[in-house]
Amino acid sequence: MVSQHAGQAETTDADSSALALKILVAGGFGVGKTTLVGAVSEIRPLRTEELLSEAGLLVDDTGGVDRKVTTTVAMDFGRITIRSGLSLYLFGTPGQDRFWFLWDELSQGALGAVVLADTRRLADCFPAVDYFEHRHIPFVVAVNCFTGARRHEEREVLRALDLDAGTPVVLCDARDRASGKEVLIRLVEYAGRMHTARLLDSVR
């Protein structure tokens, strides 16, 4: 095994011209996150392992201190190559509340987030909305129009979710590539506006 010291050069500038941007796809259980990531990118499962205590799961008596029992959590992961050296990475987070701790890492340095909502159970996306609002991460709400739940007015959703004015609400079909692309475009546009506004604020 390799020695553990002498590692100041932990992070060097590998390829300073290459740029990677991160977008999160969040929302309640079964709302269409995996479907959306799959519609716009080549989707792959990504495994991350978490200590059971962190995951808020019961930890049975594990005996020795050096014994680390972990569980794997699967996330959706997709890449969209814009051009060589510029890629968009999508991460779909597990819908269950007990995996929220994963988000803290995921949301670090994220360009923005898509919060998927189902109008039949709008409340399911409240935690995601709260999360991104508190961290000032730009997000759009994408209303996944499952059959039978169509034509919910965007303004109604805006009001029901008590969103800040200006937060985009987009109707979408998570299965449809063009529709998914539109959601991402709206997010990137919005994130751009937010960043510009913040820059202006900081020089004022």
């Binding site: 095994m1 991460f91 819908g95 890492e105």
Partner: protein, 137 residues
């Protein structure tokens, strides 16, 4: 979840599940000698940190490197890869990949770049490019 699943998880991998989200109990640190974080002190590599093979570094076939190390080196042979992609393509958990990459950085085989926070993007041009790129997909 039951007591049994913790006790037996290793003997019968894949047979115990918490639910659809949580996989079977695993102890992936066997591959990393029990280490849970990359060897060099500091922040763990971001999921979208980019990994590049160091040009001219010795090939992947030395004895210091385990098979997983070699897999990672192979995967970034053709183009720069993110940490998340390496984990997905090598079918290894992210934490394990981070540890292995720490080794490879120390050995001078790969370099890992810190992602640029969106707030520090040079200008709007990049985002414009992303939007145009998405339209053209």
């Amino acid at each position: 979840m039951t007591e049994e699943s913790t006790a037996d998880g290793r003997e019968r991998p894949g047979s115990e599940w918490y639910d659809n989200e949580a996989g079977p109990l695993v102890r992936p640190y066997a591959m990393t000698g029990g280490r849970t974080r990359p060897a060099p002190a500091g922040v763990p590599f971001d999921l979208i940190a980019l990994v590049t093979r160091v040009p001219g570094a010795p090939g992947a076939d030395t004895t210091v490197l385990g098979p997983e190390h070699r897999t990672l080196i192979e995967l970034c042979r053709t183009e720069t890869q993110s940490v998340a992609e390496l984990a997905a393509d090598a079918d290894l958990p992210v934490g394990v990949v981070r540890v292995l990459l720490g080794d490879l950085v120390e050995l001078g085989r790969v370099s890992v770049s810190r992602p640029v926070p969106p707030a520090q993007l040079p200008d709007e041009r990049i985002l414009r490019e992303v939007i145009d790129g998405l339209r053209a997909l």
